[in-house]
């Protein structure tokens, strides 16, 4: 029954497997709101994809499931559901199907959809951050979204990036485990790292792009921090090695790690030549951190990805190909 409508793609299935722990963790933090968001995203995304592929006489590619999963995990948990729906329909219809469907898109659909609703509905978007479950000395509290029921209807919570701007550094252990506010799936550093290991071990994602993206982000963040450009964090108050604390917090906040592992490695929107891929990664990291630090937006990773997507064909066209004639096929690209 499933094979009748879906085109089987092993790479996409492995990506889904890698995202499942993040999804369960998001449910643990926010409960019903994440479940509802996810249901709306998958229904809207698959319906839109079906509408287009039916006309082309093709099956639905499993890539749309990855797009839906990434998009759902990148949203603020309490976003109004109709905005969620607008975003996923936009993502699948305009960022993907308008370009001819699977494998042809220039821009990452999940990111394009997220950025579209962020720019179109900034007020409800920024009111969508809610209080997650927390980890205290007495144990866990507010699991499965009950942190909301205790208080008013929706309590807007400050994300770690907003806290950092006021000079407050969230506990690093909370950031590492993921007990902090933000988009549904971006928070848990440890789960993202495990997913990265899984993706690299199964050759689903290119580890070089992950490394270059991380390097780009770290370099930019370090330069901004030591240049005293990050609002709220002055390098003078963290002498010597203690500077690692705010820097680590800055890197573990927001969605830069999530984006590094899941979005930067998307082989369709990334360039093909190794040198171009390296620069592409640096660009994602660098632009993300630049926008996060210097522009008036809460987070810059979506812009980082979209800017790098814009440059990707250009980099591929104008950078020299590797000298060795041994054709090294990208492990993930081979399956597409």
């Amino acid at each position: 029954m499933i094979d009748q409508y879906f085109q089987k793609q092993d790479v996409m299935r492995r990506l889904i497997y890698a995202l499942i722990p993040l999804f369960f963790f998001a449910v643990l933090l926010y409960g019903w709101s994440v479940l509802m968001q996810t249901a709306v995203v998958f229904a809207g995304g698959i319906a839109t994809e079906y509408f287009f592929t039916r006309q082309r006489g093709k099956k639905i590619s499993e890539a749309v499931l990855v797009t839906c999963a990434l998009y759902a995990l990148a949203l603020p948990p309490a976003l109004p559901l109709w905005i969620t729906l607008v975003g996923i329909v936009f993502a699948v219809a305009l960022a993907k199907e308008a370009y001819g469907g699977f494998g042809r898109n220039i821009f990452n659909p999940a990111i394009a959809g997220r950025l579209f609703i962020f720019l179109s509905f900034p007020v409800p978007y920024n009111a969508g951050w809610i209080v997650p479950a927390s980890r205290g000395p007495q144990g866990f509290s507010g699991l499965f979204g009950t942190a909301q029921a205790a208080g008013v209807d929706t309590v807007t919570a400050a994300t770690p990036l907003a806290l950092l701007r006021t000079g407050e550094i969230p506990p690093l252990m909370d950031l590492f485990l993921g007990f902090r506010g933000g988009s549904s799936g971006e928070s848990s550093v440890i789960l993202i790292l495990l997913a990265a290991l899984f993706l690299v071990a199964t050759k689903t994602a290119n580890w070089k792009t992950m490394v270059s993206t991380f390097l780009g982000a770290l370099t930019a963040a370090g330069a901004f921090f030591f240049g005293g450009l990050i609002p709220g964090l002055s390098p003078a108050s963290f002498p010597g090695f203690s500077a690692m604390v705010p820097l680590a917090a800055y890197m573990m906040s927001g969605s830069i790690l999530f984006v590094t592992v899941f979005m930067a490695t998307d082989p369709i929107t990334a360039p093909n030549k190794p040198l171009a891929q390296f620069i592409y990664g640096l660009m994602i990291g660098g632009v993300s951190m630049t926008v996060r630090t210097l522009a008036g937006f809460p987070e810059g990773t979506s812009f980082g990805i979209l800017v790098a997507n814009t440059f990707s064909p250009f980099l591929d066209e104008h950078l020299p190909a590797p000298k060795k004639k041994t054709r090294k096929i990208h492990p993930a690209g081979a399956a597409r």
Partner: protein
């Protein structure tokens, strides 16, 4: 004149290329951007031509504005005068390109004379007047805007080359998909907005 004291030339230069890209944030110069970007060598040629014309005309227009129009109290004539001086520069550039590279001349076709009415060129001259730039700032702003336009058209032509092989629905082929692509590019560049001041 606040602009003189506040604006650092380097930041103005980068602002005009990236953060306030004349094409992707002001949407000026769209017609030739869409028409020529099909092919990367003509894009390159047109980008170069626009950069040269922008730099030269902004400087000339600044001189005309500050040494002719303002002393004679004829500022209300600036639109006509700017257009005339742009037309003269483009005419000369056309003769030079015809002489130096026949292939590029044929490739650019109608769009070379049309640089005259490329809104980006007049737009930059008018921004220069509104923002009260000095001569140095005007030249830097003109050059930066030209390079930004050039960069944008090169990016778009690379993307269009990649989309050419795709099976795009007939309704969207050509300009339709290009408009959507430009929308995404502009969306990406919104991230830089407000990062560097231009005035």
């Amino acid at each position: 004149m606040n602009a003189e004291t506040l604006l650092n030339p380097f930041s103005l230069f980068f602002a005009s290329i990236i953060t306030s890209n004349i094409l992707l944030s002001n949407f000026l110069g769209m017609c030739s951007f869409i028409a020529i970007s099909k092919d990367s060598s003509s894009s390159n040629g047109l980008g170069m031509a626009v950069t040269v014309v922008l730099t030269v005309t902004t400087a000339i227009n600044w001189l005309i504005l500050h040494h002719v129009l303002i002393p004679l109290d004829l500022v209300y004539l600036r639109f006509i005068v700017f257009i005339v001086s742009i037309a003269a520069v483009v005419q000369m550039l056309e003769m030079i390109i015809d002489r130096v590279s026949q292939a590029l001349y044929l490739n650019l076709g109608i769009f070379l004379p049309l640089i005259t009415v490329n809104c980006a060129i007049l737009g930059v001259s008018l921004f220069m007047e509104i923002r009260q730039y000095t001569l140095l700032q005007s030249v830097i702003y003109g050059l930066g805007s030209g390079l930004g336009w050039w960069l944008a058209i090169m990016l778009l032509s690379a993307i269009r080359k990649k989309t050419e092989k795709s099976k795009v629905s007939p309704a969207l082929q050509g300009p339709g998909l290009t408009m959507i692509t430009i929308g995404f590019m502009a969306m990406a560049f919104i991230g830089f907005s407000g990062m560097l001041a231009v005035q």
